[in-house]
Amino acid sequence: MYHYNDFDKAFLAERNRQFRAQVERRVAGNLTEEEFRPLRLMNGLYLQLHAYMLRVAIPYGSLSSAQMDTLALLAEKWDKGYGHFTTRQNIQYNWPKLTDVPDMLDALGKVGMHAIQTSGNTIRNVTADHFAGAAADELEDPRPVAELIRQWSTDHPEFQFMGRKFKIAVSAGAQDRAVLKAHDLAVRIVKNDAGGIGYQILVGGGLGRTPMVGKILNDFLPREDLLPYIESTVSVWNQIGRRDNKYKARIKITVHETGLEEFRAKVEERYESVRPTFSGIDQDLFEDIKAHFAPPAFRNAPTVEFDSAYDANPLFRSWVDTNLTTHRAPGYSVVTVSLKKHGETPGDATADQMRALAQIARDYGHDELRISHEQNVILPHVHKSDLPAVYAALREADLHTANIGLISDIIACPGMDYCALATARAIPVAQQIATRFDELKLEHDIGHLQIKISGCINACGHHHVGHIGILGLDRAGVENYQITLGGDATWNAEIGQRAGPGFAYDEIVPAIERLVNGYLELREGPEETFLVAYRRLGLAPFKAHLYPETQANAA
């Protein structure tokens, strides 16, 4: 974990002092809303449908127990007792009062957290693989690189007033768990033929109105060239990116309109002048940051308790089989704690649940927690012998749902229930789908299936890359839901295909049920997942299940 030094603490304290004064001036009438709005957005404070919303950054999704306890404190003291973890590894508080926000930021500052650059046309919170430092398939822990980028981008003078926001993700796994190809820029840590570690740079990915899959801008960058290369890339886009139309302002459009080759040439030209300005201080800093992320002292211990609990307790066994991932250290597991209990709001945790998670991490998890873009919480380092105790503690907190990667492990944005931009609700659709498939007791039979729901075209719910994507729209004053199929959020990223006409709010859950029943009929066997079956068969047979009446009419 990165620990703030005196410089970081002083910087944050000064920012918070400034914001407190800005709030005071707004309340006193010395700042208009037009003047105040960009200032509050720079500090993560939105105004939504029912209240303000404070979006707190959880850089690359990594948290200590003390930080999680502070998130609980904020939920309890200044909100309604819960928080919402987002698809960008942030947490959002839906009910703060304007005048409480400076106190909330001061409380966060005490544990090295903030809400800076969680909004506005800046480089946003850097995200990373949520299994970073624990996954068996990674080359190295990607978090030092993510932290380096965070420090470089925070308050970067060239990148505070860009044409649009800019999102960066970092991963080092053989599998992509950070949706790299849906980011403005992604850093993939790779090894070249000579065995050297470096970076592959992807550019121009993004979802939203014009979904695009990221393209390789540079196949292999030496370590020391990373920041100057990223700076050159953002700089080129910041200069030539369109400012005439907000919907065409993201780098994906710039790369698309300019062409990848020409864009690359411009980056390289810019790089010639940017590179000499990096004296090597960034590499000294990187070495210092790396020391913060030293792996914990993994222990060697027998796993007898685990084996006997696994044999004796079928509920524990189901949870182990569904929610655990292979760890790189022998005897350890990566535990994914589901925030998707059937019928509950995806990504929400109460203050009590946050404290329980902090305590479990303290007792059994080397004090580390992660938030995934899939809106779950990860205990990255748990020794197998501790798993029965962890499971028992999770049960106490009602956090033991065994559904990771299954149909009820749904991503959903806040949608029209909270968000001022939304065109339809997303949360209740997720709640109803999860409840329905829990009633049917089918979800373990269905197997790996990702449903992702967005309540507007901006696609915070990643619907384009869901195996089943659901997009909520406003059609003539009524909620309407479009289904896309065959999306993929991994290294083989695909944008889902639109299945056909949308469904009304009360038709969407039955439509998903028909679709999934259709898949169960169509698949070659339980080992053929929904996505694999879809790739084999194409849209037509699934469409026949989604729109049976159209088929009947045609016949």
Partner: protein
């Protein structure tokens, strides 16, 4: 042909609490849609919006929202305004809870 004017209320978010408020006949703000000024004349509605926007120390983002007079008084015509008037559907929070609390206090 310009579109026929449909009745409106003026709504905004309160500066400090951020919650949904409505403009009344006597230039104050209410948290209850039933107490809002019902605007049936377009020119008058635009003038009242100017009045509402003057109160920059109290409110953020005042605008005209379509409303009708139903059996139970003023009602939003669009579901977005219905959510603003009621609160989210996943928790009993927001106006639906606040109004119950107020009812409780009154009783």
């Amino acid at each position: 042909m310009p579109r026929a004017f449909t009745p409106k209320v003026i709504t905004a978010n309160a500066l400090i609490e951020g919650d949904v408020i409505y403009f009344t006949k006597d230039d104050t703000w209410t948290r209850d849609l039933a107490c809002a000024e019902y605007l049936t004349d377009e020119a008058h509605a635009q003038l009242r919006l100017l009045d509402a926007e003057q109160q920059v120390d109290l409110v953020v983002g005042a605008y005209l929202a379509d409303t009708t007079e139903g059996e139970n008084g003023l009602e939003p015509t669009h579901f977005r305004e219905e959510f603003r008037r009621t609160g989210p559907s996943n928790y009993f929070h927001g106006k639906q809870a606040d109004s119950k609390q107020q009812d409780g206090q009154a009783a």
